[in-house]
């Protein structure tokens, strides 16, 4: 072996001697050593930018911005703690632990100061309190829909999650040197708003997160600890061109693919059918979830009720009265809410002739912060927990309870409304004393079509009731069809202005669109309006319930499929009067059923029995293929077919199985990618990388290199462990050449630090070694090397087991110390005796 190398080494030695006298030894591929000190801090800054940027997108999932400052403080404290530890050259395993400790301290200091030792050290009390807060957060998440109120529990949870994301990103980027995968952490943050918010993650948050990600990559590249990341070559022209081409291609694919794949944004992955990660949270608040509820084939959130009313009863949960131009939103007049549901008195005047109706309701698994009650409630009895009501809308909301498993009795007063009374009701001027102006507010950017339609419909009509009827009649006319699919396929499932305009053009939609169209047009026409969300009258279950010793009442049941939205218009002296513009749904009240409308169904509860052509849309919708599995909740992934799920699962399993192989191939490709230096024709592979690949290759086939082996010993050991291979073997020759290259690279003069053999040559050499190793191993060894390469698995194992090893060492040290103490004590005792 040495004789073979002799000639080559000699010439190199000669040239090396000549070169060494000319130039100072320096390796251009390595970054200056002194700058490594800034690495932890630069990386910390980048991670902080990325995570805080990503968290910006949580606005909309969490209400307002109050949560941002604790989140930012947490993130900054954790990154700084880890950077500090890294600057102090703490062991690699200790840095994430330090991050965890810093996270615990800052969370205790911020949220659990009273329960913590010294105000920031977590103790049993703070853990207990933290769990209380987590429970509260869980309830909030479960009961409310986005945006949720940022209470202490929610903010604590957010800070904790983001702190953990910081530690994850840091661990990926620095000790594992996988900066690119640190994007997963940022993605994890962005996924939350993307799945929950109807409008997605939002551009600002995404941009800042992306900037942070690029900073992380840049830091890793700039301060790369060795030429593995080929920092010197990062500025090369070829590199730049390649990255521009790659980036452009990725962007183009990202933009074109959704257009090319059928059903990418329609049907299969509609914007509106976002996942509800919290299962059966049918809070009914946003109209978005309402669309999903309606498309559910199985009726979740079943509510049963029995009522003494002879007319069909709508169960009303919440009022949507805020129209901010973008979309309708529920009221949030928290300040004016009153506690106690024993007596509920609206702040507006009700007519004198009222009918009292008693309704017994069992909510079962239906979970919402709002209580479904027949309008208008006068008293609710039998509730668990504290409940409050809004005098303006009469929505009943739990202060510390949800509607889950409630069994209660509602006394409602039904005003005896007649068409005549409505016709006589005065025209209420917008903004009159009785009602705040908010019920007649119309955004300035109202699409023309809405205004025009309203104008056309109410032209020449003075009476408010007549106007309302005209609008209702128009919406219930044959022009409009009820469809759960149309809006979804149109790419909208919301209640914003643009959706409204689309709806009026396409004339197809469901209750949300009908209700919001009527409410907006009513406002345009000067009638105060709002939208009520709840349940249309359901179906009799066949059971009877005896209430308060009276004759048994028929029990009805409603579920998610009966979810409904309808407009309520205000008429002075009569209060809020419900209308029913949605064809084929619900029942048109007697007073509004004056006109001959195709969908008008009087007070028939069984709407399915009514022969309306439009009806066909509904059974279809119920038999939608690919709704989520039963019990996964109304909002969960509606519209994703089973087969797709199975396919995705299978793909995932295959990817999981193939991941070691793919990653191994990726590592090999990265090592062999090489780098171009100025004036060099072909990409050269650093001998160190080629050597690493050789060692990993050997490891894959069961020849494990030992740390105490010199490169040469390793090569000799490899030959000895392969009895079939001769010294003249192509594989053995390749091993010798790779070894010689690496020795020269690692131990030779820096000026001699040749950039290494070309990528092609190195790949050929490694292929020869691989062929040799394959021929020397059994089929089992070959299978393992292909699919579960030990080089990769051992690396994973080392990474995972690092904390345990560290712990083990600590325990061993403590044990030795204790043993010494005991031994000394025994000696002292003996001497004393």
């Amino acid at each position: 072996m040495s004789a073979q190398r002799g000639g080559a080494a000699m010439s190199a030695q000669r040239s090396g001697a000549a070169r060494s006298s000319l130039a100072a030894p320096s390796n251009p591929a390595r970054p200056p050593k002194g700058s490594a000190g800034a690495y932890p801090w630069a990386m910390a800054g980048s991670i902080a930018v990325g995570v805080i940027g990503a968290s910006l997108s949580l606005n909309g999932v969490l209400r307002g911005w109050a949560w941002l400052s604790p989140v930012a403080v947490t993130v900054v404290v954790v990154v700084l703690a880890m950077a500090l530890l890294r600057t102090l050259r703490a062991p690699a395993a200790l840095v994430p632990l330090g991050g965890f400790a810093a996270l615990a301290f800052i969370l205790c200091g911020t949220f659990l100061r009273k329960e913590s030792i010294a105000g920031f050290i977590p103790g049993p009390a703070s853990v207990k309190q933290a769990f209380v807060l987590f429970d509260r957060a869980g309830e909030t998440v479960y009961a409310e829909s986005a945006p949720v109120a940022p209470n202490t529990g929610i903010v604590l949870l957010s800070c904790l999650c983001l702190g953990l994301v910081v530690i994850l990103i840091d661990s990926l980027a620095v000790p594992l040197a996988l900066p690119a995968t640190s994007g997963l952490g940022l993605l994890a943050v962005l996924v939350v708003p993307a799945t929950i918010k109807p409008q997605g993650a939002g551009l600002a948050g995404f941009m800042v997160a992306a900037a942070g990600f690029i900073l992380i990559l840049g830091c890793a590249q700039r301060f790369a600890p060795d030429d593995r990341l080929q920092s010197g070559a990062g500025l090369g022209r070829g590199q730049f061109r390649r990255s521009v081409v790659l980036g452009g291609a990725a962007l183009a694919v990202g933009l074109v693919l959704p257009l090319a794949v059928p059903g990418f944004d329609q049907g299969t992955f509609p914007v509106g059918s976002r996942l509800n990660p919290w299962g059966p949270s049918n809070g009914l608040n946003p109209m978005i979830t309402l669309g999903n509820s309606l498309r559910t084939p199985t009726g979740d959130g079943r509510i049963t009720y029995a009522t003494s009313s002879s007319a069909p009863v709508y169960l009303r949960s919440v009022t949507i009265d805020r129209f901010d131009g973008e979309s309708w939103a529920p009221d949030d007049r928290d300040s004016s809410r009153r506690l106690g549901t024993g007596q509920i008195v609206p702040s507006y005047r009700l007519p004198e002739n009222l009918v009292r109706v008693q309704t017994v309701i069992d909510t079962g698994q239906f979970t919402s912060p709002y209580l479904p009650v027949p309008y208008s409630p006068a008293a609710v009895n039998g509730l668990n927990g504290r409940w409050s009501w809004d005098p303006l809308t009469l929505s009943i909301m739990g202060e510390d309870a949800t509607s889950r498993n409630q069994h209660y009795t509602v006394i409602s007063v039904f005003p005896q409304i007649t068409a005549a009374a409505l016709s006589q009701a005065g025209t209420t001027s917008p903004g009159s004393g009785e009602l705040a102006g908010e019920f007649t507010e119309v955004p300035g950017n109202l699409p023309e079509i809405v205004r025009n339609t309203a104008g056309t419909l109410t032209a020449g009509i003075q009476n408010n009731f007549a106007k309302a009827l005209a609008i209702q009649r128009y919406l219930r006319s044959a022009e409009f069809t009820y469809s759960l699919q149309a809006p979804v396929q149109g790419g909208y499932d919301g209640n914003g202005l643009s959706v409204l305009a689309d709806f009026l053009q396409q004339k197809s939609g469901y209750c949300v669109h009908f209700a919001s169209a009527m409410a907006v047009m009513a406002r345009v026409s000067g009638i105060p309006s709002r939208i009520a969300v709840g349940y249309a009258p359901g179906h009799p279950t066949g059971n009877s319930i005896a209430v308060g010793g009276r004759e048994p009442l028929t029990e009805f049941a409603v579920d998610a499929r009966d979810a409904h939205a309808w407009p309520e218009l205000y008429f002075e002296g009569l209060g809020w009067v419900p209308f029913e513009p949605t064809p084929s749904r619900g029942s048109v009240p007697d007073y509004a059923a004056d006109a001959v409308t195709p969908g008008g169904s009087g007070s028939n509860l069984d709407e399915d029995a009514i022969p309306i052509p439009n009806q066909t849309a509904q059974p279809n919708s119920r038999a939608l293929p690919g709704a989520p599995l039963p019990g996964t909740g109304t909002g969960a992934g509606t519209g994703i077919p089973h087969s797709l799920l199975i396919l995705a699962g299978a793909l995932f399993a295959v990817a999981l199985l193939a991941s070691p192989r793919l990653l191994r191939a990726g590592i090999r490709a990265r090592r062999l990618r090489g780098f171009r230096e100025a004036g060099q024709a072909s990409a050269a592979v650093s001998p160190a990388l080629a050597w690493e690949e050789l060692q990993d290759l050997a490891r894959d086939y069961g020849h494990i290199p030992r740390a105490s082996q010199t490169p040469r010993h390793f090569a000799i050991g490899l030959r000895e462990s392969l009895p079939s291979a001769t010294a003249d073997d192509a594989g053995m020759r390749a091993v010798r050449e790779l070894t010689a290259d690496f020795e020269r690279h690692r131990y030779g003069r820096p000026a001699d630090g040749t950039p290494g053999a070309g990528g092609q040559l190195t790949a050929e050499r490694l292929a020869a070694v691989r062929t040799m190793l394959r021929s020397g191993g059994s089929w089992l060894v070959r299978l393992r090397a292909d699919w579960f390469p030990p080089s990769l698995l051992s690396r994973w194992f080392r990474t995972v087991s690092a904390p345990f090893r560290w712990l083990g060492r600590g325990v061993a040290r403590a044990g030795r110390w204790a043993w010494n103490v005991v031994r000394k004590a025994v000696r002292r005792l003996r001497r004393g005796n």
């Binding site: 040495s2 190398r5 002799g6 080494a9 000699m10 190199a12 030695q13 000669r14 090396g16 001697a17 060494s20 000790p175 594992l176 040197a177 600890p225 060795d226 593995r228 590592i667 090592r671 690493e692 060692q695 990993d696 740390a707 105490s708 082996q709 010199t710 490169p711 040469r712 010993h713 020795e743 020269r744 690692r746 131990y747 030779g748 003069r749 001699d752 690396r795 080392r798 990474t799």
Partner: protein, 340 residues
């Protein structure tokens, strides 16, 4: 005891230019070939002796009588055209016999210095452990300082200068064992060991009639050797190899089986020997393999075993082998694999 030839001091104070690699290789091959004419089957020992010569160290050859210790030293000396002197150490040998003495010259009426045996390029100290401690230390001072001081006057020794001392194992009768401090001055200690059967038969045949030593003619000059030494000095040592060398030193000091570990001087000599090994292998940079190759001969005679370890059958050689077998070659080897 032979007297030193006059040409010894010819290269004093003069820096040689390094010998080019090709010539270096040829010269070393010639020397080794010459030595192997005489010493059969001991190529390793011969190479190590040459290594020590090129690394400017001194060699201690320790073994039982009659295995060719002196023959090795003589052959090496004979194959180089340089001054050679041989001192047979006996209990009555005086320090002045080694270093030289000032004698009053009647005719010039002045004291003039009569050079001792140490004034030669290669000094063969035969059975060094038979001399008294005083005489031993006189030689050892010359080895360290490369000069002799008599009556306040310093005399430079020849370059290259190498002492090849032989000694019988200390268990033999009538020996004064070298103290640790003095053993430390020798760069390496080798044992000849018995030749294998074939070599021994061949030796019996060839050495019957004439002394094979007579056949050995000088193949290189002293100036050549000096140029070779300069070339060795220019061999590059990377940071990684330095770290590895230091790690070996630390491991011997931390070893529970050793009472005395390797001194900093021994690490310096280890690295020098490694440089010479690298040059002999045709490289201009040191590999960890070079360090490993010379670690045993360079370190074994300097370290002292714990009593328990000696009782358990350990030898200095076995301890060093164990250390080398467990010591990671590169400090960041683990980190390297983790990062990738």
């Amino acid at each position: 005891m032979e007297d030193a030839p006059a040409q010894a001091g010819s290269s004093n104070g003069h820096r040689h230019t390094a010998m080019p690699a090709a010539e270096f290789h040829a010269a070393s091959e010639k020397i080794l070939a010459a030595v192997s004419q005489v010493i059969d089957g001991k190529a390793e020992a011969a190479k190590l002796a040459l290594t020590v010569l090129l690394a400017q160290g001194h060699l201690l050859v320790e073994d039982v009588p009659g295995v060719g210790k002196t023959m090795l030293a003589k052959t090496l000396a004979r194959s180089i055209d340089c001054g050679v002197s041989r001192i047979q150490f006996t209990p009555d040998l005086l320090p002045s016999d080694v270093t030289g003495v000032s004698i009053y010259n009647q005719s010039s009426r002045q004291f003039e210095f009569r050079k001792g045996a140490v004034f030669a390029n290669i000094v063969i100290g035969d059975e060094i452990n038979r001399a008294s401690a005083k005489t031993q230390s006189a030689l050892l001072e010359c080895m360290e300082e490369h000069q002799v001081t008599v009556d306040g006057q310093s005399y430079k020794l020849a370059e290259p200068f190498m002492v090849v001392a032989t000694q019988n194992p200390i268990e033999m009768e009538g020996t004064y064992p070298l103290p640790e401090a003095q053993r430390d001055r020798f760069m390496a200690r080798i044992s000849m060991g018995y030749p294998d059967q074939a070599s021994e038969i061949e030796m019996l045949e060839t050495h019957q009639a004439v002394s094979p030593l007579a056949k050995v003619t000088p193949v290189v000059t002293a100036a050549d050797v000096a140029a070779m030494i300069t070339a060795v000095q220019q061999v590059y040592v990377s940071q990684a190899v330095k770290e590895y060398t230091v790690a070996i030193g630390h491991a011997t000091r931390d070893s529970a089986r050793l009472r005395l570990g390797a001194s900093p001087r021994s690490l310096l000599q280890l690295l020098r020997a490694a440089k010479a090994t690298a040059a002999l292998d045709g490289r201009d940079f040191v590999l960890p393999d070079d360090v490993v190759a010379v670690a045993e001969p360079v370190l074994a005679h300097r370290i002292i075993l714990e009593r328990k370890a000696a009782g358990a059958g350990d030898t200095p050689q076995s301890v060093i082998r164990a250390i080398l077998a467990s010591l990671p070659v590169s400090k960041d080897a683990a980190a390297d694999t983790r990062r990738a």
